[in-house]
Structure formats: structure tokens, C-alpha cells
């Protein structure tokens, strides 16, 4: 084995090659995905519900058998050596797994004991984590009485109790209010600074943007594009100019707007959605006047004109043709729907 090859392997925490997962009924949840996660980084999957994020995570943490493909975690193969992987990874699922009838402290002891930690060591570790997660005051309260944010933090503590090398978080802040979300981000950053590799999925572009060093945009079971948030945004080539037409505008006006924007020098492809046409324009911020003049001389009625730095949402739009519209205020149920729905 040559040295560069060894070094490359050493840096990889997760290697996924050509992962495919089919569910009964001809549903292909994950469609030939390959990626690497390096040791010590925060890597994210950004994508809407049903994109295949959860299925991929569940395959990596040994909860789902891949239909085909290869997954290595810290050098161990998921199908050949699942126990070694279970010892090394922590997993906080989208649907929180805490026992409502047990106290926060008891839940942590249970998880620690399940990871072969002695009772005495488990108690010490539980107290330590309760303090880190700001739960020390409610340690003796039943988890059933906890708020959404507290349950998330308890679940995160559970995933950390055996000091994993790698932490998986499936939509860690779904259902949290902005304040709790930011607090959780703070916890995750600190954990990462202390050396923990983190793999998270999210449908919030803000979360991907602030937390992830690298991310993959995933839709319909495929990775659309992969890179750092800055790299991904740079691929759009300039600032985003969005022209919104009045609701009464006819189709021909729409087409005319599109062709005008398309025809400008340095314009990357235009996208239209609802009553808006968006274009990425090189040096867009200094060329607003040019855009207005062109639209005006073609008699295009403009309801609104926006200039923005490209966002991950724009990247998503470019690669999927859709917006990553997620109502961030909506609170999804924290419990699983009835039965064991196969999350994908």
C-alpha cells in the first residue's frame, strides 16, 4: 500500500460508494450515492423531506441494510462489522428516542449501560453530559414533562454518552424555535471543536450554511452537487436578481422578461417560478440600472425587483428546479406517526 493512499484512507471517517436502497413497492429511496466525510469536519445533507437523507443515515449507522453499495465508517464495513460501528457512532434520530417514563438521568444511564459502560462510570458521564446540555436542574424530572428543546438536548446527550468518534444528527433542529436552534448550534460547534466528526441532515439552508464545512445537496435520492457553502454559491456565478411581475401579467410578458434577462452579458441561466424570474448576473450589484432600463424599454411591468447574494436555496433551485421552501415556524410532531414508517 503506498503512503499517499494510506493517508487518504486515514482522513476519511465515512466513505460511501454507490449506495442504493430500495424499499418494497419499487421505491428507490437512495439512488447511487457516493461521498466522503473527513475526520473532524461537519458535513451536511441539505434536502427536502423524502430526498433520501434519513435512509442514507440509517444505512450508515447499521439500522438499514443497503440494497447495494459499500459503506465504510472509520475503516469498518457496515455489513461485515456492524458492532464495531455501533461502538463508534452516536445517532440522534429525527424522531427523538427518549423514554418518557424515565428521568433524564435514568435515560442517560440506560444508554450508557447499553454501551457496556459500568454503572459507576455511567453515573459520572450522565452528570457531566446533563451539565453540558444545561439539563442539570431537570435531571430528576421525567423526560415526558420536557419541552421540545429539552428533549432534543437530552437525545443529543444520549447519543454522546459513549464518547463516539462520529455523531449523526437527523434534522436536529426540526420543530425547535429559533432560540433553541441557535443554542443547539452552539453545542454542536463546541463538540466539533473538541474533535468530534458530525454528519447532519437538514432541510434548513440557514443551518447548512452556518454549521457545515461541506455539504451535499440531495434530492430524489441523488446527490445533486457537493462542496463548501461558499463553493456552491460561487458556482452560480454572481448576484441573484429577481424580477417579480404583477399577478395580472400575461404569459408573453413573462417570456419577454426571461429573454431580456437571458440576453444580458454575463447572465447565468434564468429560472422562473410563480410570478418571478431570477437570473444570476456577474457584478449584478452594479448593473441594476442596466436591468431596469432594459425592462422599461421593453414595457415590462415590474412589481418588485430584488438583488441578493446567492443563497444555498438558489443553489438548490439551480440543481433541482424547485425552491427548498420549508416553513420554519411549523412544528412537526416529535413522535413517529403510527407504525414503523420507513423514513427516507
Amino acid at each position: 500500500m503506498d503512503k499517499t493512499g494510506t493517508e487518504k484512507e486515514d482522513r476519511a471517517m465515512i466513505t460511501v460508494e454507490n449506495l442504493i436502497k430500495d424499499f418494497p413497492g419499487d421505491v428507490r429511496a437512495v439512488d447511487d450515492i457516493s461521498f466522503r466525510v473527513e475526520k473532524g469536519e461537519i458535513f451536511g445533507f441539505l434536502g427536502p423531506n423524502g430526498a433520501g437523507k434519513t435512509t442514507t443515515i440509517r444505512a450508515i449507522v447499521t439500522l438499514l441494510k443497503p440494497t447495494s453499495g459499500k459503506i465504510l465508517v472509520d475503516g469498518f464495513d457496515v455489513t461485515k462489522n456492524p458492532q464495531a460501528i455501533r461502538e463508534r457512532v452516536g445517532y440522534a434520530a429525527q424522531f427523538i428516542g427518549v423514554d418518557d417514563d424515565l428521568t433524564a438521568h435514568e435515560n442517560l444511564i440506560l444508554q450508557a449501560r447499553l454501551h457496556n459502560i459500568s454503572t459507576r462510570e455511567a453515573k459520572k458521564k450522565a452528570n457531566e453530559l446533563l451539565e453540558i446540555m444545561d439539563l442539570q436542574d431537570v435531571a430528576k424530572r421525567r423526560a415526558g414533562t420536557f419541552s421540545g428543546g429539552m428533549r432534543r438536548r437530552l437525545d443529543l446527550a444520549q447519543a454522546l454518552v459513549h464518547e463516539p468518534h462520529l455523531l449523526f444528527l437527523d434534522e436536529p433542529t426540526t420543530g425547535l424555535d429559533p432560540q433553541n436552534r441557535r443554542a443547539l448550534w452552539g453545542h454542536l460547534r463546541k463538540l466539533n471543536e473538541s474533535g468530534l466528526t458530525i454528519f447532519l441532515t437538514t432541510q434548513y439552508m440557514e443551518e447548512a450554511n452556518t454549521l457545515c464545512e461541506r455539504l451535499a445537496i440531495i434530492d430524489q435520492g441523488r446527490i445533486q452537487i457537493e462542496g463548501s457553502p461558499a463553493e456552491l454559491k460561487a458556482t452560480l456565478g454572481g448576484e441573484a436578481i429577481t424580477v417579480t411581475l404583477p399577478e395580472t401579467a400575461q404569459q408573453d410578458v413573462f417570456e419577454r422578461t426571461r429573454s431580456i434577462l437571458d440576453g444580458m452579458s454575463g447572465a447565468a441561466e434564468t429560472k422562473s417560478y410563480n410570478h418571478s424570474v431570477a437570473v444570476f448576473l456577474e457584478h449584478g450589484s452594479s448593473r441594476l440600472a442596466e436591468v431596469v432600463r432594459a425592462l422599461d424599454s421593453a414595457d415590462v411591468p415590474v412589481a418588485r425587483l430584488e438583488l441578493a447574494q446567492p443563497t444555498l436555496d438558489d443553489v438548490f433551485l439551480r440543481h433541482t428546479g424547485e425552491r427548498l421552501r420549508v416553513e420554519e415556524t411549523k412544528r412537526p410532531s416529535m413522535r413517529r406517526p403510527h407504525g414503523r414508517s420507513k423514513q427516507r
Binding site: 449507522v61 445517532y91 423514554d99 407504525g339 414503523r340
Partner: protein, 256 residues
């Protein structure tokens, strides 16, 4: 082996903690049997005067049936617990831990067994207050509970198959009631074999519950009837090998 027991012990302890936190879990399976014990022992009390009945009074005759009914109910509680653990994401937590899959099932069986034993003991306590006595004494009570619990584990296999296949706690409970009642009334649970209509007497002979109740009834009323005891244990083992295999298969399917 030791490792499996240790791992199962951790999960057993969690279930016992739940039992102390939510005493309802202990009493859940007791209401209906208690109601039957109170009502039937009064309503059918004159039955003991019938020729061919062969027991001191209907209460003495009924107590083993009620112990059996309690474990059957408790067995379906097992399936509901399984669905709840799946819905609450707890099964995933157990599966992601570096423990054996078999330890998860063993922990559940041990916890179910403990709960069933406590429930059977409570029912016997009530029966004692009502005046029922166990012929074979303390040792008999021990064996009676052991047989009932073993049968309950076998029966819990059915409830877990239903639970794992439907993934619905309410449906599991409903199917439990729908199965339990016919099989209980098609046994010698409420009437001695001699007094059952011919067709029912024949049906009862093919009903595993009959063998359970006959053994329990012997321990309560006759003494150490080893034939009845061995028959009950053999029927239980046969039933368990079927139901627990099916349950394990359903479990594997859900976690794969």
C-alpha cells in the same frame, strides 16, 4: 451467555423502572380478570350444586381460569409495549447500541415474565381475600405462577407477531381481546369438561388453554397432579416454539 444476560438485564431493569413509574402497567391487565372473578364467582355460584361439577365451590373452580386470563391479557400488553417502543424511537436506540439482537428480545421476555408473575400473584391475593385456598400450598403457588408465566410468554409471541406486523397498539389490543375470548370460552375455563356440550368438550381438547387451566386447577383443588402439570408444560413448549419463532421472524423483518 453471561454477556447476553447482562445486556438483557439492563433492558429488564428499564422495564421494571417503568412499572414503578406507571403502576397502570401492572394493573392494566388486572381489571377485567378481577371483574370476572367478582361477578362470575357470584353469578355462577349455584353451579357447584349441579351433579358432576366436582369442585367445592365455583370460586375455587374459577380462580385458576382467572390467573390464566390475567397472563393472556398481560401477553397482549407485551405486544403493545413493543409497538410503543418502536413508535417512541426506543427500539432504534437499542438497535444502535453494540448489544446482541437476541439480548433485546431476552430482556423483553424477562420483563414480561416478571410483570406476569406479579400480576398472577396479585390475582391470587385477591382470591385469597375472597376465600379461595390453594391445595398445594406455597410451593404449589410457585409452580402455578411458573406454569402460567411460561404459557404467557408463549402467548406473548402471538401478540408480538400481531404488533410487529400491524405496527398499531390499539389494533394489537383489539385483536388480543378478539382472540382471547373465544379461546377462553372454548376451553374448560368456565365449565368442567363433563358439563360442556359434546362439541364444545371436543373443541376444548384441542385448545392449549384447556391444558393450562387444567394444570392450574389441579394445583389449586386436587394436589400434585403431575400428569396435568407435564401435559401443560409440553403444550406450552410446543406453542412457544411456534409463536416465538414467528415473533422472532417478524422482529427480524422489522429491524432489517
Amino acid at each position: 451467555m453471561i454477556r447476553s444476560l447482562r445486556e438483557a438485564g439492563v433492558l429488564w431493569r428499564r422495564n421494571m423502572l417503568k412499572l414503578t413509574r406507571v403502576p397502570m402497567l401492572l394493573f392494566f391487565s388486572l381489571f377485567q380478570p378481577l371483574l370476572f372473578l367478582l361477578l362470575f364467582s357470584q353469578v355462577f355460584s349455584r353451579l357447584s350444586e349441579m351433579p358432576g361439577f366436582g369442585y367445592e365451590n365455583y370460586l375455587q373452580f374459577l380462580v385458576p381460569t382467572i390467573v390464566g386470563l390475567t397472563t393472556l391479557n398481560s401477553a397482549f400488553q407485551s405486544g403493545m409495549g413493543m409497538v410503543n417502543d418502536i413508535d417512541d424511537g426506543l427500539l432504534d436506540k437499542f438497535l444502535i447500541a453494540p448489544i446482541r439482537r437476541s439480548s433485546i428480545l431476552l430482556g423483553k421476555v424477562l420483563a414480561d415474565a416478571t410483570r406476569m408473575a406479579l400480576q398472577a400473584l396479585l390475582i391470587l391475593g385477591f382470591a385469597y381475600i375472597m376465600g379461595a385456598r390453594v391445595e398445594t400450598g406455597i410451593l404449589g403457588v410457585g409452580l402455578l405462577i411458573l406454569i402460567a408465566v411460561l404459557f404467557g410468554i408463549a402467548w406473548a409471541g402471538i401478540s408480538n407477531v400481531v404488533a410487529l406486523r400491524t405496527g398499531n397498539a390499539e389494533l394489537t389490543m383489539l385483536i388480543g381481546i378478539l382472540i382471547t375470548f373465544p379461546v377462553l370460552f372454548l376451553s374448560t375455563g368456565f365449565m368442567p369438561q363433563a358439563l360442556l356440550p359434546d362439541w364444545l368438550g371436543t373443541a376444548a381438547q384441542f385448545n392449549p388453554i384447556t391444558y393450562l387451566i387444567d394444570a392450574l386447577r389441579a394445583l389449586v383443588n386436587e394436589g400434585w397432579n403431575w400428569t396435568a402439570i407435564w401435559q401443560a408444560l409440553a403444550v406450552t413448549m410446543g406453542l412457544a416454539s411456534l409463536t416465538l419463532t414467528a415473533a422472532t421472524r417478524a422482529f427480524r423483518k422489522v429491524i432489517s
